[in-house]
Subunit: 340 residues, 2 copies
DNA sequence: CTGTTAGCGCCTTCAC
DNA sequence: GTGAAGGCGCTAACAG
């Protein structure tokens, strides 16, 4: 059994609260050098570690921040976790991360679990099938900020991306290269960023007098297999697209699989633009042209908003910050020479 | 402020302990249907959530398991996190994950933090610069299991890989293809798996009468940049290797970068075998031949050992389980036709 | 400078 | 079937 304050106190023949005082080591609390010495000695001998659970219960403050993401395996979200970790530790917070596996039920459990476990604040990339638990958090004035995805009808802090605009620009890039048959493949279509990207995609087509073809739009679940199937669907169309906008890093792999299996060459036979950039993008079968949002920017901004709400808990802010995309042109897009 | 047991009790004009009883909903505790009804009603109205911090303090049991990994951004470790999440949630545990950024100091903090925060057990992929804190855990009989890396001189639970043997086999594969100049590039050379792989590498050379060339061995830090530098070193040697064993998924990217920059073709100019497989391996500039260990196996086995130690806390087991490698032959290795 | 007291929110005996 | 009391380990406020 681990040593407690009491054990240390007994060993030193002082009161537990005295031990507590030297442990916390605040400057302005007067302690005689001898007792401090004595206590520090005992602490070392007993290998005493303050029980953070008890401390959190007492203080209503844990110095822990929770991050809830839908998928550890997504390089996008794991990079966000990485950045958040760095940011938190810089400010003396511990970060703990939960994976919801894109399941709404698990997200609700994670939110309840972490908040009732005394984390000081939460950063959430929501699954977005329901919003009840998010509303609850807002009502309780529990400090949290959403990232990547948000709800238009709830006032919250959120750090989101200019997905509509950046998708628009990506499509225009393809149009300028002479592409007229442009497909769009995503994971779950009801996701905030996907909705926005799709809207940008449609607008770009419209603005350039290209007819919208519903059959060029596909995507069901955020898995490699589903993306593979969606891509096959498009590639096997009688008139297949000459370019693809791909929404999601794992989705991109599924699409690549379909392209490889059909023995198409990138970009000769088909141009592709991926959302979002990962460390792998330059090293793929064809170096990937990507639209991406600075993960560092998302992370630091989210943390900043959260910290502000932790400090001003009674008077929470509700800012929606939008991060501007960057566009990395690599080898996966080229001129379309066919005339259609 | 969130509602407490007391609030619910007051609203129902019962004693808090009564509320506690219905909340936990144990079968064998007798409660009159009316009071149960009344209390459940109030719980819903107040949106009462039991405070897990207080509960953990009282029960010495949190149903939380902590995972400590050196890098969220590594697909290897993030996949492990994924698997662990699935495993834990299957058994009613919540998983929380901490990233140590390969820093020993952060790992120590994470271990202390999580253990003093009442997690029921810990799974750790240690940084391996020191082992004091790991020893402490063992002495305290705190339930934990090491993964991927372990200490030869501490008795612990651990799930490790047959790195020596699998590296040996990988090198033999290259030798059988006619390669004689085989390089070895890793991240931190003092890491358990790297030591083992290197040892297997050396043994294979020796068994096939190939001289060990120290200059063919490189690697300092587990970063893309360092791997890039290491690879450049080898590739620019007067007599450069014709094949490379690469230890680590991020390391592989650094090596690819160097190969691309030197305009070498894989596998024509150089064959490579990577540890470990990721979802990206088939889609890289050249589909990667890899040695890998089933992450699912690692995760489920680690969880199993941990659970055993959580349940039998006073009488901990110390098993070292070794996972056998799989070998995926893809396109990045081929016959060496030069005669050297 | 140090001890005493009270209580964070919960659960577990032990009464009745 | 339910209430009362005590305590998990810690800290804050108040004494002295």
């Amino acid at each position: 059994m681990a040593a407690t304050l009491k054990d240390v106190a007994k060993l030193c023949a002082v009161h537990p609260s005295t031990v507590s005082r030297v442990i916390r080591g605040k400057e302005n609390i007067p302690i005689s050098p001898e007792t401090r010495e004595k206590i520090l000695e005992a602490v070392k001998n007993l290998n005493y570690q303050p029980d953070q659970t008890a401390r959190a219960l007492r203080l209503k403050k844990s110095n822990v921040i929770g991050l809830i993401i839908p998928n550890f395996s997504s390089p996008y979200f794991s990079s966000i976790a990485k950045i958040m970790e760095l940011e938190c530790s810089k400010q003396g917070y511990t970060l703990i991360v939960c994976d919801t596996n894109e399941e709404q039920e698990k997200e609700i459990r994670a939110v309840n679990d972490l908040s009732s476990r005394g984390v000081d604040g939460l950063i959430i990339a929501p699954v977005q099938e329901c919003d009840y638990h998010i509303r609850e958090l807002a009502i309780k004035k529990f400090p949290f900020v959403l990232i990547d995805r948000c709800f238009d009808n709830i006032e919250t802090n959120a750090v989101i991306c200019n997905d509509e605009e950046s998708a628009y620009n990506a499509v225009v890039h393809l149009i300028n290269l002479g592409h007229k048959k442009i497909g769009f493949i995503s994971g779950r279509p009801n996701l905030y960023p996907v909705i926005k990207r799709l809207s940008g995609y449609k607008k770009a087509l419209q603005d350039h007098d290209l007819a919208l073809q519903e059959k060029y739009i596909a995507g069901v679940n955020p898995t490699l297999e589903d993306a593979f199937n969606s891509a096959q669907l498009l590639l096997n169309l009688p008139v297949a697209p000459s370019a693809l906008i791909i929404s999601g890093s794992i989705i991109t792999l599924g699409v690549l699989k379909a392209i490889i299996e059909k023995k198409l060459a990138i970009p000769k036979d088909i141009s592709i633009i991926g959302f979002t950039d990962t460390i792998y993008s330059p090293y793929l079968i064809c170096p990937l042209t990507t639209v991406t949002h600075s993960i560092k920017e998302i992370g630091t901004k989210a943390f900043e908003l959260l910290l502000h709400n932790i400090i001003n808990e009674d008077n929470p802010s509700h800012s929606k910050v939008t991060i501007k995309a960057e566009f990395f042109i690599r080898g996966s897009t080229t001129q379309n020479n066919s005339n259609e």
